[in-house]
Symmetry: C2
Subunit: 265 residues, 2 copies
């Protein structure tokens, strides 16, 4: 997503040119290219697919909407398996229209994972619950803290359901160091993602994530906590940023690698 201006073949070539050996993919470009063709493309380039983004949106009350969400998530699991990644990232979904009960919505997420987790496990895919910043609590993700994500994941075996640690969403939380340590002890850190926090936020607050080093987040502090928690998996940089998307994707990828080395290693 950081360089969504690149087609999948361009992305694969740019990763090779930049020394990037793993890539997190999003469902929509993969579906457009064809899941099997995308899997072959990355495999033949020697690239690892780190995660597939994203399943989730599991907060519906209405039975048809709930069933449709579960079907779509099973399809996402199948796509993850076809791509050869072991991790499907879940953005859990916001409040249904007119609702205000965040706790009840999180309980519906847990309930839905009860159906999805065994299905995913049967296909070698782990589900990674991603807490999103509280500014998305109403319309995008009722899971706002790592603590809440761990509460949900805790209903399932760690090899089936874990969490995403994303600096953009969690940097403000004074409990995050303790929660990262706990997630590590439980073996539930299934993904670690980096982005910086820059202001002012754009309208809709979706596409204003900062390039590493441009903002308020102490990325090295997060890296040290996640390392100390025993995480040895891939580290993704996930920037939704209109300005970066308007530039040459290869240049942005090279810059991102450089910023990663300067601020997160």
């Amino acid at each position: 997503m950081t360089v969504r201006q690149l087609s999948l073949p361009e992305l694969v070539a740019a990763c090779a040119a930049s020394g990037v050996t793993g890539v997190g993919l999003w469902r929509e470009p993969v579906q457009r290219y064809g899941v099997e063709a995308a899997a072959r493309l990355v495999r033949e380039a020697g690239l690892t697919v780190t995660t597939l983004c994203r399943g989730g949106f599991l907060t519906a009350v209405e039975p048809d909407a709930r069933r449709a969400a579960l079907d779509d998530n099973r399809a996402a699991v199948d796509e993850a398996a076809a791509l050869g990644t072991d991790t499907l990232v879940l953005v859990c979904g916001g409040l249904p229209p007119g609702a205000s009960d965040l706790h009840a919505a999180r309980e519906r997420v847990t309930d839905a994972l009860g159906e999805l987790a065994p299905y995913a496990a049967g296909r070698g895919v782990r589900l990674a619950v991603e807490p999103l910043h509280p500014m998305y609590a109403a319309d995008r993700c009722v899971v706002s803290t790592l603590d809440q994500a761990l509460s949900i994941a805790g209903h399932f075996p760690a090899e089936q359901v874990g969490v995403v640690v994303d600096t953009y969403h969690l940097w403000w939380d004074d409990r995050v160091a303790a929660d990262i340590a706990r997630a590590g002890e439980q073996g539930r850190i299934h993904s670690f993602q980096l982005a910086d926090w820059v202001t002012p936020l754009p309208a809709g607050v979706l596409n204003g994530r900062g390039q590493l080093g441009d903002g308020a987040v102490d990325l090295r502090w997060f890296r040290a906590r996640v390392d100390a928690a025993g995480y040895t998996g891939p580290i993704e940089v996930e920037l939704f940023n209109e300005e970066l998307w308007g530039r040459d994707g290869r240049e942005v990828l090279a810059e991102t690698v450089e910023r990663y080395r300067a601020h997160a290693t």
Copy 2:
């Protein structure tokens, strides 16, 4: 601020017409009108000034900037005393340029309150630390939760430093019920403010607060928690909303009274 399109005399007349007996004022319009003249205006109309907004911005590291902030806060205390309100609301300030340590910034707030709280107490004014939504942590307020606000206030007597409970900033927090109860036990709820949460957020995320009943916040739930915590003070409605500011202020005030009755009583 909900009807900032009204001049102070218009506001006072509109409050009387709407049966509103207390009003929270902001420093800038009061200063433009003249503090003594504003005090006389509201007093003669029989209106209570519930709070003055706002002091704060106490996170500076640089000595001159810190001194200037303290001076400005002492002036705000004097203005509050002149207006006859016992409560000055504090928005604590964001991170200084290049900084990323939220904890250290909160410690500087506590340190500054050590100078301000006795000054305010000597003038019959309480300081009310307002936690702002985590989306403001970098650039506006490093105090993001009621728990953090209570930690800061806890260094001082409750009659000197308390907290603001504002539904817009706190609605997402799963610890807020317990924190409201704790704030009540300590006698530290110095202000209770209502606004609803609506999406999409506007650019800059400052002026998108929802009219009561338009959004995701269960206002009656908050009201019940604050009532149960023993709060008997005024309840303010504080909406920063471009669309409301574009309408006739008297109409907006009447609508707000109606919404308050429908959603928060």
